[in-house]
């Protein structure tokens, strides 16, 4: 079934709507859409059908992930667009809007609706909605293996008769039924299979309204295949459908080419359609959505009753028993704590090993490269800028950043895949509710410990606008792995040093935990303030689905977490770190009046630095390190030593001599530095990510300036108090 994709199609039918939705169709014969509720195994099916021929991106103008993939069957090329997982197409969220617009306006050749055989009733709600829009539908009855284990039997033939479209039972994880699914889709798109989709019987008052509106729509748009559904959307006050009517897009949907004259006419008639729709809407007194959904579910219930048979009563046993432990008052928190600690321990231990190897290799390349440049007679400044500036910055960031992310993200994704993480959100929600936030923020915060940019992207799982913004704007208060090296160095060198050696290690660890706790407290305080002030105008709603526990799909997890999280974040960091490396080298090597630029600038910054208990060099390092926090410590050392490139000292003793003996650092300096590192503005990658995720420069600015001002405020206050006490 999986053949290689044939390239270069010279004469493909033009598909305007698909192109408009950003789908590249040039090399494909058919375009399919994959719809379904969340947690139905839709992604598994998508992966199974397309293998590694995938492309991830975003929907144009939306922060909703978009997956596209391809496969070939019997010499025809198919493109699959994976729509966001939704319960409905009646647009309660951006996800639903994206999915709905694609099915309605892009006019794909077929829609595969994936349904969960263990929760047919709820899944049928979506199927019935899709059937109102298009008759080119194949229902993929997935997870039949899980249903069997739970004693649920679905008669797929009867279901197919009820729905009027083909139904193919599958177990996508085991690859069961996929051949038949593809075969059925092929027959459907080639017109060898006829469907007669079931249309929902709506309640009497809605039916009455439809009886007035649909004929008028049919009169203006005789070719419109789904006039009834368009009428329903108008009665629901759907803004996009209304606009399509006003702009004439609806006519283009009905007929591929429309004359200007016809367009003009259709636009004129849109006014009368809309005013009729408005009158009918008022007659329904705003109850359309309720009545519609009630009818949909009543129908879904009726169908499910005919086709689903349950055997025995032990169906939820295993899940329930696990849930009772994982969410219990006694065991819930300790288990969560142990798991999180295990994840971090594994990450730090594993990362150390890989980090060292990687650093050795990358810096060996630097030595070879600069030697080569010298041998070729390149001027010293070229060698220095390219190898000791740009390359060194890049190598530094990669060797510090890549290993922990490559370990942390897959483990995290596996926990997610197993269904454990939603339980964490469930347990922690009580605290987040008090701060006006969502329990899932616990997950994005944990993600932020790996990388804040990844944490910000992860906020997509929070489906309530206000709570999502809160999670985005406060993610920075979780120290990411770029900041860990500094925190660890400071706590071992200074905090632990003031205790007897026997306790040193424990104290250092305790100091780190304390830093994270301060970060957590700050997150809650800032969340609470934000939700009660500037974010009060945002919509807010809490629902949290707790999917059944499932065996994780380890290979798929490794693939997606490497591609989606690690590599994407790494690439952005590299783009930022290389120029920063160049800038650092220039600052250290351009001299004026007997001092390097970096010494001049740190001299100017010194008064500001002293005010918050640091010094000019530290501030300079932070400014240069906005692109990547990993290079703060090497830049500080470089400037103190007056060296020409970022450096690390071999032993902690050397470092102590440099910082304490030569530059007068105290324990207080270290505490200030740790606090500043925890609270200051996020790195430029994160700021850019905030901007992309919110589509708003305002939130990006706030996300950068809010932590920065908090950092300065806290340090000013702390140091004034300390000075007053002395």
């Amino acid at each position: 079934m999986r053949e290689k994709v044939v390239h270069a199609c010279e004469s493909c039918a033009l598909r305007e709507q698909l192109v408009q939705m950003g789908v590249r169709v040039d090399r494909f014969d058919y375009v399919l859409a994959l719809a379904g509720n969340p947690n139905t195994g839709k992604s598994t099916l998508f992966n199974a059908l397309t293998g590694l021929r995938q492309h991830t991106g975003n929907w144009t103008g939306k922060t909703v992930a978009r997956m596209e993939g391809a496969f070939e069957f019997n010499g025809k090329r198919y493109k699959i667009v994976d729509l966001p997982g939704t319960y409905s197409l009646l647009s309660a969220s951006v996800d639903e809007e994206v999915a709905r617009d694609f099915v309605l306006f892009a006019n794909p050749d077929a829609v595969i609706v994936v349904v969960d055989a263990t929760a047919l009733e709820r899944n049928l709600n979506l199927v019935l909605q899709v059937l109102e829009i298009t008759d080119r539908v194949v229902v993929c009855l997935n997870l039949i293996d899980e249903a069997e284990r739970k004693g649920i039997e679905v008669d797929h033939r009867a279901l197919s008769r009820e729905l009027g479209v083909p139904v193919v039972p599958t177990a996508a994880r085991q690859g069961v039924g996929l051949g038949l699914l593809v075969q059925t889709v092929a027959e459907l798109v080639q017109g060898r299979l006829r469907t007669s989709p079931r249309r929902v019987k709506v309640d009497a008052r809605v039916e009455q309204a439809l009886a007035e509106l649909v004929p008028l729509l049919r009169q203006v748009y005789p070719d419109l295949p789904n006039a009834r559904w368009v009428a329903m959307r108008l009665l629901d006050g759907d803004y996009n459908v209304r606009r399509a009517l006003e702009s004439g897009d609806l006519l283009r949907l009905a007929r591929r080419e429309a004359h200007d004259q016809e367009l003009e006419q259709a636009r004129a008639q849109a006014v009368s359609i809309l005013s009729l729709a408005q009158r009918l809407q008022r007659q329904l007194e705003g109850t359309f959505r309720d009545r519609m959904v009630e009818s949909l579910y009543a129908e879904a219930e009726a169908i499910a009753q005919k086709v689903v048979r349950r055997k025995g009563e032990r169906r939820w046993d295993w899940d329930q028993r696990l849930d009772r432990i994982l969410t219990s008052r006694v065991w819930g928190l300790p288990i969560m704590g142990l798991l999180l600690m295990g994840v971090f321990w594994t990450t730090i231990q594993g990362a150390n090993v890989i980090s060292d190897l990687l650093a050795t290799a990358l810096f060996w390349v630097e030595a070879q490269g600069s030697a080569l440049f010298r041998a070729l007679g390149a001027p010293w400044w070229l060698t220095g800028f390219v190898w000791h500036g740009v390359y060194r910055g890049l190598a530094w960031v990669v060797s510090v950043m890549l290993p922990p992310m490559a370990i942390f993200f897959p483990i995290f994704t596996i926990l997610e895949d197993m269904g454990y993480l939603p339980r964490v959100a469930f347990n922690m929600d009580r605290f987040f509710k008090k701060a006006g936030a969502h329990g899932k923020q616990a997950l994005t915060m944990a993600m932020g410990l790996g990388c804040n940019a990844a944490g910000v992207v992860a906020t997509r799982i929070i489906n309530s606008p206000r709570e999502r913004l809160i999670a985005i704007l406060t993610n920075n208060f979780m120290p990411c792995n770029g900041r860990w090296p500094l925190l660890i160095t400071m706590s071992t060198l200074f905090v632990a040093a003031s205790f007897p050696p026997a306790f040193a290690a424990a104290v250092a660890a305790g100091a780190l935990v304390l830093v994270v706790l301060i970060g957590v407290v700050t997150t809650f305080v800032v969340s609470a303030v934000l939700s009660r002030t500037i974010l009060k105008g945002e919509a807010s709603s809490f629902t949290l689905e707790l999917p059944p526990y499932r065996k994780p799909n380890v290979l798929a997890v490794l693939y997606t977490s490497l591609i989606d999280r690690t590599l994407v974040v790494l690439w952005r960091a590299v783009v930022m770190a290389a120029p920063a490396g160049g800038v650092i080298w220039l600052l250290a090597n351009i001299h004026a009046g007997g001092q390097s630029l970096s010494q001049w600038i740190s001299g100017w910054l010194d008064p500001v630095g002293r005010a918050i208990g640091l010094d000019g060099v530290v501030l300079l390092a932070y400014i240069i390190a906005i692109p990547a926090n990993e290079i703060v410590v090497p830049t500080i050392i470089m400037t103190y030593l007056g060296a020409g490139m970022m450096t690390e000292l071999e032993s902690l003793n050397d470092l102590r001599r440099l910082l304490v003996d030569q530059h007068g650092w105290t324990t207080m300096t270290a505490i200030n530095l740790m606090l500043f590192s925890l609270l200051h503005n996020p790195c430029s990658t994160t700021i850019l990510t905030i901007w992309r995720e919110t589509k708003s420069a305002k939130w990006a600015w706030l996300g950068a300036l809010l932590p920065l001002s908090i950092a300065f405020g806290v340090l000013l206050l702390l140091n004034s108090i300390v000075r007053a006490l002395q």
């Binding site: 579910y297 009726a302 969410t327 105008g537 945002e538 709603s541």
Partner: protein
């Protein structure tokens, strides 16, 4: 000497600029205000409200309503008269047809915006009126129309006040004051007056909202005792006078049941309805998840700290917070066996359980 005279001149100049009411800055501010859309729209709304209640507005009442001096109010009146929006008559200030038309549009924008804030954002009920009042003036006519379409051309704002249509028709509210309503007869609240704010705040605090069904239990000159679905409310007559009710329609009567949040883990129930006061995003989410009348719900487990609670709805585990579960009215299933359906699915009428 010289120093003192310089200081005096500076002081005088400052006084000239910053004197309240008469200073240059104050006058400039007043002029700005007079020209502003907000002043005119607020005046139109006040005149309209007065006209509606049967007594015409005066310059004094206008000054009071807008919180400005009588002098400024009369300047505003002159300005609006010159624009043909109102006429000064012996009985008071009269809106011209054009003024009336504009006033209705202002009322429309205000009430639509109130509804939007109340149902689609996290602004608290007590703040809605104030915020809508400040922000309504910045809406363009297109935005008002978009808002209207987005919310499905609603009939009334969260207080039960009717929202005029785009063409200016204003549906009337029928009903009588709660103070005069007969004891014992089920009454549905159709309107809650949002002025004055401290009285409104009391009504909000009691949890009384348009759409609710209540029953007067007892009435005396000093107090009024009400019964709603779950609570008893004691109101002062002044407060009760701000609540308009009508006889509850048949379909709203059989609203027995309890809140989903009252159930314990292990219990099963059938959904009767989602509370009328639950609108916007949360209601749409509930519907999408299949929380519709007749749906079966089972309380599965509490989270480690007691809230939220996980419910099984249509074979899926969904966690809801306490205040959300409060919106859902259910009837407990007897012993959790063979739950009964409210009615057949095929008769087309799927309204609330009768």
């Amino acid at each position: 000497m010289l120093d003192n005279s310089v200081l005096l001149v500076v002081l005088l100049l400052l006084l000239l600029i910053f004197a309240p009411q008469q200073g240059v800055y104050a006058r400039w501010r007043q002029k700005q205000w007079l020209r502003s859309r907000a002043a005119m729209e607020d005046a139109l709304m006040h005149l309209h409200q007065r006209e509606h209640s049967g007594r015409l507005a005066s310059v004094e009442s206008l000054a009071g309503a807008l919180g400005v001096s009588t002098r400024l109010a009369s300047m505003l009146v002159q300005r609006m008269e010159a624009q043909g929006l109102l006429q000064v008559t012996a009985g008071g200030l009269n809106l011209t047809p054009e003024g009336h038309r504009l006033a209705i549009q202002v009322v429309r924008a205000h009430r639509l915006f109130e509804r939007y804030l109340a149902y689609e954002t996290s602004v608290s009920p007590a703040e809605v009126h104030e915020l809508a009042h400040r922000l309504e003036h910045s809406l363009t006519p297109q935005q008002v129309e978009q808002l209207d379409a987005y919310m499905g051309h609603p009939l009334s704002d969260p207080h039960g006040d009717p929202i005029p249509t785009a063409s200016g028709e204003m549906p009337e509210i029928e009903g009588q004051s709660l103070v005069d309503f007969p004891i014992g007869t089920p009454a549905q609240i159709v309107h809650v007056e949002d002025e004055p704010p401290h009285v409104y705040a009391q009504i909000v605090a009691e949890g009384l909202r348009p759409g609710m069904v209540v029953r007067v239990l007892e009435r005396s000159p000093t107090r009024l005792v009400l019964e709603s679905d779950t609570d008893e409310h004691v109101l002062a007559p002044v407060v009760a006078a701000n609540i308009t009710v009508r006889e509850a329609p048949q379909e709203k009567l059989a609203l027995e049941g309890e809140r989903l949040s009252a159930l314990e883990p292990g219990e099963k129930a059938t959904v009767l309805r989602i509370d009328d006061a639950c609108q916007g995003l949360t209601r749409r989410r509930f519907l999408d998840l299949g929380i519709t009348p007749g749906a079966h719900v089972e309380v599965v487990m509490r989270s480690a700290f007691g809230d939220p609670v996980a419910y099984r709805v249509r074979d899926t585990l969904i966690a809801l917070r306490r205040e959300q579960a409060d919106w859902i009215w259910v009837r407990r299933d007897g012993n959790g066996t063979t739950p009964h359906r409210t009615q057949g699915e095929d008769d087309g009428e799927v309204t609330n359980g009768k």
